[in-house]
């Protein structure tokens, strides 16, 4: 019984990792860049949600507004970051872009510390009163249902965009071969901007969900989930969308089960141990070879 309970805890945590890992993996799939500022987009998304929910109070309607507002803001930010920081470096060595990404991350974190209405001190994130449901002796909370539900809806939506729309087709083409896609008349710049926007919007949604589950916002809150999502993306095979989803869930469950049945001190060790193991045993990740699914 306790095992099933821990599985539910793990899946709930894993769905947030999965949402974030999607952002990593999509950007990597298109421009071969590890966008280390992705965790900080989560933080900005959570803050955007924080302002909406503080002004409007916590109701289902205001939650919806918070999601839309925060995802829009972060999508725009994602495009701005791409245009100003990454685009000029598109032809430079990949290490330069990687270092820039770390720089952007540091800039956002420390920028948030000095912006007066964000500030360095943790703030309580407004959430609905927790309701618990008892299903055959297993305790499931409202928060867990919301987190899992919203994640699944967004993942289905993403799947449709990538596989069922014209833009999705362009994304897949660009990912497969950027130069060839360009020659075939695809506006590569537009596709890359769109990818960053989608990735950042998912990050923002992940931010609100993360803050709903762990109701506190502070400038460094994106750091740890960002790293974990990176591990999840590598685990699933960086560049692969189903891989990122599966990687997120595996990581969340592994972490929770370690805390629950071995020792809470080892949880982070196991998470990053998985990264090392994957890099040694199967560097391409679980779905790494499946290039057709690559975005």
């Amino acid at each position: 019984m306790e095992f099933i309970q821990q599985m539910i805890n793990g899946i709930s945590l894993g769905s947030i990792y999965a949402l974030l890992a999607l952002g990593y993996t999509m950007v990597y799939g298109i421009v071969k860049l590890l966008n280390f500022a992705h965790g900080d987009i989560l933080m900005l998304g959570a803050y955007a949600g924080f302002f909406i929910l503080t002004f409007m109070g916590v109701t289902p309607a205001s939650m919806l507004v918070a999601f839309i507002f925060s995802m829009t803001i972060c999508a725009i930010l994602g495009i701005v970051i791409e245009r100003t920081c990454y685009k000029p470096l598109r032809t430079s060595p990949r290490i330069a872009a990687l270092i820039t990404a770390i720089g952007v991350s540091t800039l956002i974190e420390n920028g948030a510390r000095v912006i007066p209405f964000m500030g360095p001190n943790p703030k309580q994130f407004p959430t609905f009163t927790s309701i618990n449901y008892d299903v055959f002796g297993i305790n499931i909370s409202m928060v867990q249902i919301v987190v899992l539900g919203v994640s699944i809806i967004l993942m289905v939506l993403l799947n449709y965009i990538v596989n069922g729309t014209k833009m999705g087709k362009s994304m897949r083409a660009t990912s497969y071969d950027m130069d060839a896609a360009f020659l075939m008349g695809i506006n590569v710049n537009k596709v890359i901007s769109f990818t960053f926007a989608i990735g950042a919007a998912l990050g923002a949604a992940g931010g609100i969900l993360y803050a709903t589950a762990y109701p506190q916002v502070q400038p460094y809150m994106g750091l740890m989930p960002g790293l974990k999502a990176f591990v999840a993306a590598v685990l699933g095979g960086i560049g692969s969308i189903p891989g990122a989803m599966l990687g997120g869930f595996i990581l969340g469950v592994a972490e929770t089960l370690t805390k629950g049945f071995i020792s809470s001190k080892l949880a982070d060790g196991v998470a990053f141990g998985i990264l090392i193991l994957i890099l040694v045993v199967k560097p391409a990740g679980l779905f790494g070879k499946n290039t057709n699914e690559k975005v």
């Binding site: 805890n9 309580q124 629950g260």
Partner: protein, 385 residues
């Protein structure tokens, strides 16, 4: 040749600037203001403590200066921010001692940060009085290290005996921060006392500073059905844990220590019905407390928390000792500190051989406030040493 000339010039410039730096540093002389340093977490995870403590120190110093200062000189307080990060505490300490030339330090606030500088303070003969570092080992570094709060051995015992005797709890669970000296110390003393009284600690789970997800640990704790759950950490982490306690459907009474001070402003109704130990209760019927609370509230617009009261007391203990010593000689101040025996805001204070004050603790309860999700604090009991 040009290279050589340049390098000689560079070396000369360096040497000159180094000496210039030395010259400008005012040694603890006999003129000018008496400088007291303070290291507080003014930003970061426990900023509510740091800002209030800083305000209380400045209020105390202003009062002393208005009354003519000490030894006929004004007192100047220099406050540095350490963000509750021991690395930053160290650099703040070096700055205060070498650049500002302070003779004493009120701080640091958290045990982890204080422990980072006690050895240096002892070696440099800087009188250090921490207002609120309760970890037992803080004063171990030597006879220049004092504190104005009781220590965790006492505090852990207070909470344990309150749980066993007043709440009639038999089974206790502990969820603590394994990377924090304060949290670990309290866990040990609580456990020892609770088991000595006849209770059992059925579950002892840990996490690391910065963790956000406690569902796994709480699921495990729930399986052992404890009467009380002791969470010895600071208010920000506690407010996160408390929400997850409720969403896991855990109904044990939550207990905490002085790190819970300010929880009423940082958590919702999920903490109602919990108890924690504290240094004083602002609603106490005591002239010193009343005067302090009234003046602080008038100046800063909020009621002072316990850590503000401790910082205020620490400032007075230090300046009283300097006045009594009649000089800024560290030896003399240290001896005068040991002779402290006076009533302050947080109670009658005298020091034992290990420079810990001998004083009482209060237990307070969190009750429903006038507004929803704004819990209030109610005095529950006083426990004497």
């Amino acid at each position: 040749m040009l290279k050589k000339v340049l390098s000689v010039a560079l070396v000369l410039t360096l040497v000159i600037t180094t000496f210039a730096g030395c010259g400008s540093k005012a040694p603890a002389g006999e003129t000018g203001p008496i400088k007291i340093g303070s290291i507080m977490p003014i930003s970061g995870p426990v900023s509510a403590y740091g800002t209030q403590s800083r305000d209380a120190i400045i209020m105390a110093v202003d009062e002393i200066n208005a009354a003519g200062g000490i030894l006929g000189r004004q007192v100047e307080a220099i406050v540095e921010d350490d963000e509750a990060n021991p690395e930053k505490t160290k650099s703040a300490f070096t700055k205060l001692v070498t650049d500002d030339g302070v003779i004493g330090i009120v701080g640091a606030l958290t045990s982890k940060c204080s422990l980072a500088i006690t050895a240096d303070a002892q070696a440099r003969k800087i009188i250090m009085i921490s207002p609120s570092s309760t970890n037992d080992t803080v004063t171990d570094a030597g006879d220049y290290i004092f504190r104005s709060c009781y220590n965790d051995s006492f505090q852990g015992q207070v909470v344990a005996s309150f749980a066993y005797k007043d709440l009639k709890a038999i089974k206790a669970a502990i969820l603590f921060d394994n990377t924090n000296d304060y949290s670990k110390g309290l866990t040990q003393t609580f456990k020892a006392k609770f088991e000595e009284l006849g209770g059992t600690v059925v579950s002892e789970e840990s996490y690391a500073t910065g963790d956000m997800d406690f569902n796994a640990q709480l699921t495990k704790i729930k399986g052992t059905a404890p009467d009380v759950l002791f969470i010895p950490d600071y208010y920000n982490t506690v407010s996160l844990i408390a929400k997850q306690v409720k969403s896991q459907g855990l109904t044990s009474t939550m207990l905490g220590a002085d790190g819970w001070d300010e929880i009423a402003n940082n958590a919702g109704d999920e903490v109602v019905g919990s108890y924690y130990s504290n240094h004083y209760s602002p609603d106490a019927n005591d002239p010193e407390v009343k005067a302090f609370v009234a003046k602080y509230t008038e100046l800063f617009g909020v009621a002072p928390n316990a850590l503000a009261a401790l910082a205020y007391d620490a400032t007075y203990i230090l300046t009283d000792a300097i006045a009594k010593a009649g000089s800024t000689d560290p030896e003399a101040i240290k001896t005068a500190m040991m002779e402290t025996n006076k009533k302050f805001v947080t109670g009658q204070i005298s020091f034992d051989a290990k420079r810990n004050p001998i004083k009482s603790a209060v237990m307070v309860e969190l009750v429903k406030g006038t507004e929803p999700n704004k819990p209030a604090v109610k005095y529950a009991a006083t426990v004497n040493p």
